[in-house]
Amino acid sequence: GGGESGGGEGGEADALRFGYIFPETGDLSHLGPPQISAAKYALHEINEAGGVLGQEVPEILTGDEANDAAQANDAADRLLGQDVDAVLGAAASGMTMAVIDRITGAEVVQCSGSNTSPDLSTYEDGGYYFRTAPSDLLQGPILGQKVVDDGHQSVAVVYRADDYGQGLAEATATALEENGAEVVLNEGYDPNSTNFTSVVQQVAGSGADAAVLVSFEEGVQIITGLIEEGFSPEQMYSADGLNNEGLGELVNADDPGAIAGFQGTAPGVDNEQFTTALTEFDSELEVFQYAPQVYDCAIVIALAAEAAESTDPTVFVEQMTAVTQGDTQCSGFAECRDLLAEGQSIDYQGASGPLDFDENGDVTVASFMIYGFDEEGTHQALEYVESKP
């Protein structure tokens, strides 16, 4: 129904233009595909529902952050040069740092689905920067608590020494100590490291009864090493970086059950539906890290534009927080848009969680999944926990 959205004065508004800056290449290129698909999926949904303010949303403009600030900057420049209204990304906190001045300085809304660095909360972004991923400060305590709850009292924390791993590891280690557990090892490794034997041996030799691995896929090498050293998967924990359906097969293709008992935390809600829909949209997708968060970014931006009845970012940025904190809960673009058209104030419930932005553009409430693997090595969501700062 385009009728309602015609509420804008004469329907003269420009189309809402999205752009993204995601890692298509570079060290974090494995994080690219799910986020790209999610963004495209969101736009697809929006257009299915008739577009924003009655205008079809044009094809998303793309940019590669390449894990290189110069290229990310260049990509940002070009997106801005094409008059985008909103930029999704960047995926890595460091890359966001590299482009945030440019984008928010140009008064364009930026929303990332995977930035977890606490520093971004307080960054002076003129109110243009948002993120749907929870800060490390939210995830760390949940993970720490989980380890302690399972009866572990001396814990080894190893992490990917970059802005993702170090931040989360710090938060987790703090939480572990707050809970009274002893952190017997707190060691970062070079993300580009080509050999993990020494890390494995440090964990094995630390006398810890549990290990927390804050890593991306390279964590598989540590898991394998630890299992071979006689560590049981039940003693291993990880975070969103290893929240991977195929983890069991990566560790041991013959017997994915080898990692039975491995657990971890990851931002997300119980949203089978979203995963299924996204898989339908892009059948080649294997992992789904941060896909719901990116999807939410796009939808919230579209809703904000609807609510502000304008696709001008300087105008609709005011509505970004409002559409996540209103009175009537709703989910999905079509439903929320219709409510807005009825003049209601809406509270968008995202694919990644309840999603309420605070004044910093952070989510106030984050939902975390505790995942684990069963005897067959199948990925399971064990529990959902919400956390508020």
């Binding site: 595909p33 017997v184 080509t194 050999n195 399971q380």
Partner: protein, 461 residues
């Protein structure tokens, strides 16, 4: 500031339990607070009281294995207090986390663990958090013997519950260093050959390594090629690697040489080749890490303090074999000598009747094949991803240079030094600086021996 934030953090709102048969929530039902006093050892008869606000919810006393449990009426925030009176005289309550936990949030259905630690008077140390550079030596002293004290319900794997003594660590890391060093060496030997023969800094070598690993992956896993055994796939990969090398020489480097293009320009071309190869592999195989599906997760062979998997042992042995074979080939066979002759002086080699183009082609073939083999070994010992070779490239160069260019065993010696230094540095320094130490050692060695470890000084006048 962050500390304080975290203490107020755990305000729990709702809890949704999705999977009914959760692996953790074994005994379904009410919320509890529980714990086990086991530091420095399990202590019986300690009283623990739980309050909600000022209201006392319940009290428990630790059992013989130090465990205690208090049922709580429901989700919410509780205060858990350890009764200091009940602590036997030989212990005091450890400062961390102290005798009292404020604001312990319990979610619906959660059996939440609360930790109290005891300590022997006088032994109390301030913080227990390990700094990265001192891996928990204290933990070893604190828990000299586990054995009978280990309570059930707490999973403790054999051999990991107490910290390993320093000497053992040295031995273990030495083994790890050797195996790492040999993987570097075997990947680098092709580089050394090509670098040695053509004097060209081939920046595409890392990606040739990746190519080999990926080809083996392509043939050994997945439906595409019906799962040939990895050994066969590795052989195919070596052949393909050799073909890649030959193709590059035949259709790129040779024409460039014909056009009298200088080495440094060729180096830029090799960067171009590297970019192409790497990103085509990215497009073809995606950005994820994969592993071969054979020889994973093996039982360790334990020889005293050292554990090695058969996989690693095989890689070590095969690497040494191949390295020695290549070195011997270079040193003793006719074609090997011809390769060195071409390296020294192309025109003169040509004038000696050596078909320089053919020899160079062999070198590239051999170099390509060996890099593919290195890739398979490397992928087997670590994992296969599109940047694997690129990440290893600098270490390979370091190994080749450190050993001394143009020497038969150079790559091997250099690789071993690099591998050992990298691994052993983690005994004292943070792991994140592993590569920094490996590279630093190269510079230090070159300071003393500018021609590399095995290299020979050149005559000046």
């Amino acid at each position: 500031m962050r500390r304080r934030l975290v203490t107020v953090l755990l305000a729990v709102i709702t809890a949704i339990l999705v999977i009914p048969a959760g692996a953790v929530a074994d005994d379904q039902g009410g919320e509890t607070l529980n714990g086990q006093i086991r530091k420095p050892e399990t202590v019986e008869g300690i009283d623990i009281t739980v309050y909600q606000g000022s209201e006392e919810i319940g009290t428990a006393t630790t059992g013989p294995d130090g465990e205690w449990e208090v049922e709580v009426p429901g989700p919410g925030a509780y205060r858990v207090v350890l009764d200091q009176e009940s602590v036997p005289d030989e212990y005091v309550v450890s400062e961390r986390p102290g005798p009292e936990h404020d604001e312990v949030q319990v979610r619906e259905g959660q059996q939440r663990t609360v930790i109290f630690n005891l300590a022997r008077p006088g032994e109390e140390e301030g913080g227990s958090s390990a700094s990265p550079s001192e891996p928990a030596q204290e933990a070893a002293e604190e828990e000299p013997a586990q054995g009978e004290g280990t309570p059930e319900g707490v999973t403790t794997a054999p051999g990991v519950s107490s910290a390993t003594p320093f000497g053992t660590k040295v031995v273990q890391l030495t083994v790890a260093g050797i195996s790492f060093g040999l993987v570097i060496a075997i990947s680098a030997i092709g580089l050394s050959l090509i670098f040695g023969t053509t004097r060209m800094i081939n920046f595409a070598h890392g990606d040739m390594v990746t190519f080999g690993a990926m080809m083996a992956l392509l043939f050994s896993t997945g439906a595409t090629f019906n799962d040939v055994p990895l050994v066969v796939a590795a052989l195919i990969a070596v052949v393909l690697g050799a073909l890649l090398g030959i193709g590059l020489e035949r259709f790129l480097w040779r024409p460039l040489r014909r056009r009298n293009v200088a080495l440094i320009q060729m180096f830029i071309v090799s960067i171009g080749v590297a970019l192409i190869l790497r990103h085509l592999l990215l497009v073809g195989f995606g950005g994820n890490r994969e592993r071969y599906d054979e020889y994973q997760l093996q039982e360790m062979i334990r020889l005293g303090p050292v554990g090695v998997t058969p996989r690693e042992l095989t890689i070590i042995c095969l690497s040494v074999l191949v390295l020695v074979a290549v070195a011997a080939m270079l040193q003793f066979t006719r074609i090997g000598k011809a390769m060195r002759a071409v390296a020294d002086n192309r025109d003169l080699a040509e004038s000696s009747g050596i078909d320089v183009d053919r020899v160079t082609l062999y070198v590239w073939g051999l170099g390509g094949g060996l890099s593919a083999l290195g890739g398979v070994f490397y992928g087997l010992s670590q994992s296969v991803y599109w940047q694997m070779g690129f990440h290893l490239l600098l270490l390979m160069f370091a190994a080749v240079i450190l050993g001394g260019l143009g020497t038969a065993y150079g790559a091997m010696v250099g690789g071993l030094v690099i591998g050992l230094v990298a691994q052993l540095s983690t005994l004292w320094f943070p792991s994140e600086l592993m590569n920094a130490w490996a590279l630093a050692i190269m510079i230090v060695v070159l300071l003393v021996r500018p021609q590399g470890i095995l290299g020979r000084r050149e005559r000046v006048g």
